[in-house]
Structure formats: structure tokens, C-alpha cells
């Protein structure tokens, strides 16, 4: 763990704008170095104020410090940015249990389960919610340290490690609004969900197979050079396609509340993450 912190600190020093602060903050938090984790999270938030995962990290650190009021505000902010953010939903569920509002806690856990139906922690916490508030509070408590292993597995905010292997780890919408495909439409990373929470990844991927090639043909025909992006406005949402490498296609989907210009910025960040990931894969 010490080596992790050292390596992550080094990475962050080399690229202060990177999202590695999320992993560093989490590593410091797990080591109990809350003041250091706090500083990392605050600095990261200053650079990435619209990143839901950054607010989630900050909220977990605040909860560890028993500053529940500010933790609530941060999780609430994370949800405003990413309404289906599982970490924030579970964090708020924990706080509602803290104040004895079991109904609200269960509602947030149900929303978390809709967003992440395969998350065993959410399922367990929800099951416990129907059995008794005390157990659930322990299950969701980000600061809890001595609970049994089975309960610890179900705690949400505390034990949600960022998977280094995921293409879009740490990016907003990584599991419901970002998708990376290869030239034949095979899914390399990310996932898409529709407004009802249904996974539509494979269906969308199938329709997008060949789009990159066709966009390139069109740009060439018109003498426009290489294509850099394709933005589309839908009745209920917006999409942005870009090509992070010669043989890959990145799709970003957001609802209509996200302006097209901001979507392009999100796509640029996601494309940078995708390029790094593709390079790592060789």
C-alpha cells in the first residue's frame, strides 16, 4: 500500500490534471491518512469540479471524519452531476440511516440497485434494510472498521475500489454513458444504459459498427481531411462520437440537459483516457 501511494503520488506529480488523484485519495483513506486524503481530494476537486467521482471521494473522506453534513452535500452534488452514481446513492443511504430515516435510505438503495443490479453490496444492504436498520447502517457505514466480512462486502462508499483495468475508471458516466468499440463494433470498455436503466450496450454497439469507416469515407469524399468528431442531437439526449485511435470508436451519451459543447469536452477527456488504455493494451 505504501508503494501504491508513492507510485500514485509520483504519477500525480507528473500529470496534475490526471484522474489518478481518485486512486491516491482512496489509497490514503484506506491507510487512515485522512488529512492527506482530504488534501488530495480537495486539490482534485479544484481541477475537476464537475466530476462526480471526485465529489464521491471527498464525501467518503468527510464521512470518515464524521463530518456528515458536508458529506451529505458532496454526495448530493455527485448525484446532481451523475444521477445514477452508485457510490453517492449508497453514501446518502448510509447518512439517512444515521438519522433514522429508513424509508429514504431504502429508496436510495433501490435507486442504487437499479443503476447497479449486479452490485452485491447494494443487494445485501437492501436486504438488510428490510431486516433492520442497525445492520444496514453498519453495512453502509464508510467509517466502519470492525464489521463482519459479509457485511463489509455490502458497504458501499467505503469499499468501492476504482478498477485500474477499466477504460473509463473515474470518469463521469463510465458505466452508463461511455462506450469504447473496436472497428468491428466489439465492446472494449464502458457501458450504456437507457433512461429506464436497461443495458443497451450491445444493441448500440451493433448499430455503430462501420460508422467510423463511413464517417471517414464521407470526410474524404468532401476533401475535409480526417474526421474528428460526430455530434448528434436527439429528442431526449445527445451523443458524441470520436475516434481515439485509427481502429476504435468512442461514444458518449448524455441527456438533453448536457449542452453539446460540454458533451464535446467530456468526449475529449474520455478519448484521452481511451487512448491511454489502448496504448497500455499494446
Amino acid at each position: 500500500m505504501a508503494d501504491d501511494v508513492k507510485a500514485l503520488s509520483s504519477q500525480l506529480a507528473q500529470d496534475p490534471d490526471s484522474l489518478v488523484f481518485l486512486r491516491l485519495g482512496e489509497a490514503l483513506r484506506h491507510k487512515g491518512q485522512l488529512d492527506a486524503a482530504y488534501r488530495v481530494a480537495v486539490t482534485g476537486l479544484e481541477r475537476h469540479p464537475h466530476l462526480a467521482d471526485a465529489h464521491d471521494l471527498y464525501a467518503r473522506i468527510l464521512a470518515d471524519k464524521h463530518d456528515y453534513e458536508r458529506a451529505f452535500d458532496e454526495w448530493d452534488m455527485a448525484l446532481r452531476i451523475a444521477p445514477a452514481h452508485v457510490g453517492a446513492l449508497k453514501g446518502l443511504a448510509f447518512l439517512y440511516f444515521k438519522i433514522g430515516d429508513v424509508q429514504q435510505a431504502a429508496a436510495h438503495l433501490e435507486a442504487a440497485q437499479q443503476a447497479a443490479p449486479d452490485d452485491p453490496g447494494v443487494a445485501q444492504a437492501l436486504a438488510l434494510a428490510r431486516g433492520g436498520a442497525t445492520e444496514v447502517e453498519r453495512a453502509a457505514d464508510p467509517a466502519a472498521e470492525a464489521e463482519p466480512a459479509t457485511v463489509q462486502e455490502s458497504l458501499a462508499p467505503a469499499a468501492q475500489p476504482l478498477e485500474e483495468a477499466r477504460v473509463f475508471a473515474g470518469l463521469e458516466g463510465a458505466e452508463e454513458g461511455l462506450l469504447l468499440l473496436d472497428g468491428s463494433g466489439r465492446v472494449l470498455g464502458g457501458a450504456l444504459k437507457d433512461s429506464a436503466g436497461q443495458d443497451v450496450t450491445d444493441a448500440v454497439a451493433a448499430y455503430l459498427a462501420g460508422v467510423s469507416h463511413e464517417a471517414a469515407r464521407t470526410a474524404k469524399l468532401l476533401g475535409l481531411g480526417d474526421w474528428s468528431g460526430l455530434a448528434a442531437e436527439g429528442k431526449l439526449g445527445h451523443v458524441h462520437l470520436t475516434s481515439p485511435s485509427a481502429d476504435a470508436l468512442l461514444l458518449v451519451v448524455r441527456d438533453r440537459a448536457v449542452p453539446m459543447g460540454r458533451l464535446a469536452i467530456i468526449a475529449q477527456r474520455a478519448a484521452a483516457a481511451a487512448r491511454r488504455w489502448l496504448e497500455e493494451q499494446g
Partner: protein, 121 residues
Amino acid sequence: MTAESPGGGYGRALDLITRVRGVRGAMLVSADDGIVVAEQLMEGIKGPALAALAASLTTRLRRAMEAAGVGVSLFWHLQAEQGALLVVPAVSGILVVAVAEPDVNVGLVRLELLRGAEAVA
């Protein structure tokens, strides 16, 4: 700039689009079969091929967007190093298409394309 089938509402719709600074041409395309309905394009732009590709891309995008749950496409914009292709699908099944320079005011072209789509609906 060459003009085909410029008469009536189609010609007026294309006029409004091509008057925007930076627009190199505009055309109306049948979305179903990718055939040119009317065009006002600068010399050198291959209208029939462009119409076919624009219709094909529109179809792929429409299917993908409907599968993603964001509804039907109202406007799309292909950005490239040296220019852009902008498309509004009209309810009549006609695509209103513009080819533009890279520094064009995309918002303004979008507005004129939407007006054009209303005119041909």
C-alpha cells in the same frame, strides 16, 4: 455554385442556408434512398455521392440513437480537419444537408437547416 431544382420552397430553403458565411453548399436528400432532391453546391462537390453517404450515416445514427434511448435524431454534425457536414432530418423524410468550412458558425447553420426542414416538411 451550381443549382439544380432551385424552384419553389426548396430553392428558398437552400438559399437561406448557403447565405450563411462559410457554407460551401446545401442540398436536400431523400433519406430513404439517398437520392438528391435539390442542391446548391460549389463546384467540385460530388452531390450524388454525398447524398448517398449522408443518408447512410443518418440511418446508422438514427438506429443507434433510438437503441440508446435518446430518441430520433434532430441534427447531426460531422467535424473534420478542413470542414464540416451538417444534417437535419425533416419530418417529411428529406434530409437538409450543408457542407461548410471548419470555422463556420455551427449554431447559425443549424438554425437555417431547421428552418429549411420546416419549409420542406
